[in-house]
Symmetry: none
Amino acid sequence: MAQIATHSHLGRPVNEEARALRREQILAGARVCFLRKGFHAASTAEISAEAKVSVANLYQYFPTKDDLVRALIDEELAGDLELIRIVEEAPSFRQGLEITTRMVTANREVAHDSRLRLEILAEAARNPAIAAVVKAADDQLVREIGAVIARYQAKGELRADFAPEVAARIIVSLFDGMTGRFAFGLSETEDLIVAADQFIVQALAPAAVSPSPTP
Amino acid sequence: MAQIATHSHLGRPVNEEARALRREQILAGARVCFLRKGFHAASTAEISAEAKVSVANLYQYFPTKDDLVRALIDEELAGDLELIRIVEEAPSFRQGLEITTRMVTANREVAHDSRLRLEILAEAARNPAIAAVVKAADDQLVREIGAVIARYQAKGELRADFAPEVAARIIVSLFDGMTGRFAFGLSETEDLIVAADQFIVQALAPAAVSPSPTP
Amino acid sequence: MAQIATHSHLGRPVNEEARALRREQILAGARVCFLRKGFHAASTAEISAEAKVSVANLYQYFPTKDDLVRALIDEELAGDLELIRIVEEAPSFRQGLEITTRMVTANREVAHDSRLRLEILAEAARNPAIAAVVKAADDQLVREIGAVIARYQAKGELRADFAPEVAARIIVSLFDGMTGRFAFGLSETEDLIVAADQFIVQALAPAAVSPSPTP
Amino acid sequence: MAQIATHSHLGRPVNEEARALRREQILAGARVCFLRKGFHAASTAEISAEAKVSVANLYQYFPTKDDLVRALIDEELAGDLELIRIVEEAPSFRQGLEITTRMVTANREVAHDSRLRLEILAEAARNPAIAAVVKAADDQLVREIGAVIARYQAKGELRADFAPEVAARIIVSLFDGMTGRFAFGLSETEDLIVAADQFIVQALAPAAVSPSPTP
DNA sequence: GATGAATGAGGGTTCATTCAT
DNA sequence: TATGAATGAACCCTCATTCAT
């Protein structure tokens, strides 16, 4: 695999590399524009201007505006799976959540990402092809988070009376919902995320020895 | 009678009722189209065709496509406040949630509504005017739900170590997030909502008498 | 003819009078709008708003926007013929011109009238029907001014080596040309008109005994 | 040669010449349509059809219909300044006028040009931006003609009791006025222009030695 | 007579996309 | 490869005009 870098100044590989760079350059421009105006309102002209590339050139990398959208969505969804690793390797559920939180919060502009996610969801709501992609990513996310929960349930760290995947879905929903709020400043970002962590931990905390009213 | 129409002989009188009907008719068509294609992709021609109205006529009721969007958003957001009444008058927090759940679930097509909400959020992320409207509605919703929570906290029915408005925001986020999932069939509607209710109740349940205060 | 006034509160005549009033009311509104935007850009909606009349009502008086234009043009051209009387009854050609000048200058906003004339000419350049009307009015104007000139030529007050109608055409052209300038403030109104009078008088002054270079 | 095209390998080079040709092609189509219908009534579709160009292509050369109008006006006004040179280099004022006359008359369809001028004036009467352009061209024209007149006055070829610029304004007005008549055949073109020349010459002729200075 | 309500036919402009160099 | 040049199909909106009351 170091191959690619090695051949960097030979015949084809250079082009491959150059192509990949251009692709990213275009995608970056597209991200900016889609963020600013949404998938539909952003024009290919605008995007190629932002990417400092000619329109015709753009079409050599993405034969359709839809392809551009799809590529950006793929890129975006791929980022999610990173988070899972983090939670997976955390010493406790609570700490996993906290780390995730810090990642998401610290990460560059959360609001920007939020807007894009919103746009993606909206697009998925109409375009079945997009919906399929989103669903696939979501399924994986839910499955893996569910697995993590199941593990912690087994350890007794989390209450066991919640189907792991259901809990996962609720957690993902909660984060998605907050994302929507951040997208246009409905709430203070960090505060809400921290509180949400606490909320989740409490909801899933092992049932205290039950009120135990009797002797 | 009683001089309602003072325009004795000044021409055809305004028919407020017919106008209101037309307005709804158009809004209904718009809803269908916006649902199908989104705010941007749905054309005024398409909308007026769906509403069985001429384009020019549509423009006599909504001077701008944006006005149409805004009207639909207003209508949609107004629906939220109904839910608050329900929770407010419930005998317990848990039952309030349950009733809400049943309302939302049983109510007409949840998915449809969900799509529209998604579209609204996405639009708000770009259009500051829309964002303001959404924010206003959201503020009210959060404030009122927060008040309800505060009341139940006072009664000891909910744990007191959560700022009411923060809890409210989390709950609203959670519902919004689920809404996004329903929008294109990411999850089974009813199951998830029921589980979410339980999740919320547990998160806010009064701290169990802590492990063992007994003798 | 006092008849009309006499019958003013009987059956038909009242209506006739009312109709005429409305007509003028609408024409006045039309004049304002046409002045502001030109014949094409001024909409019937705008005109009827300006005239404080419903659009449908406007159409009962002028079955077509073109009819409205035509009526306004007729009204405008009719004004020209008044000027002729003045010149006709003047004691000398020079004084006739001066009086005309004063009339035109003193008259209400010259610029406004100028704009309308311009609009009329431009319309005539495309619409043969309008062109015919304008041509008829112009012919009459030229003919009558030509007659006046011929009279003064006979008196020896003006040089005789100019065909009267040709001179008339030049004079009318000159005034039309100045009108165009006034229309949007190209020149100082009054100064130019006064100078033009002098210009005309000198051009038509009887040939001085010719330089008479020799004894 | 000589490195004119620095874009060695950056894609298809700009073909300035072809662009200029297209521009003229479009302007020519526009001129025809504007002549036929006027600035407002001529549609961009019509113009691009006349110019054998797609509408979208037209918009790549003129981003707005208004720009098209403006370009045509600029072109038209630029033609005026040619005339000045001619008068300037004439051996006498009279001959300068005659040459101008012949130019204007012989020149391509005078009537067409006249219509366009009319349209321009009418447009200027409403659109301040256009008015400014027209005024600038007119100022220059008047100033330069005024200078010519002043020169001939100094030579004693023209009477000195007329402010040069005022005389210039009158002359321009006269030509403008005739232009308006030609625009739709109100008068015979050539005859009137010739007579106007004589008219001007007489008006500006040096005061004859006054009736009788002889012994 | 006068107004409110409705509409078909465009009008200017933009866009995703293709062709040529 | 990468750019300039071109286009058909829409899109939002307006207008002159008619119909109903």
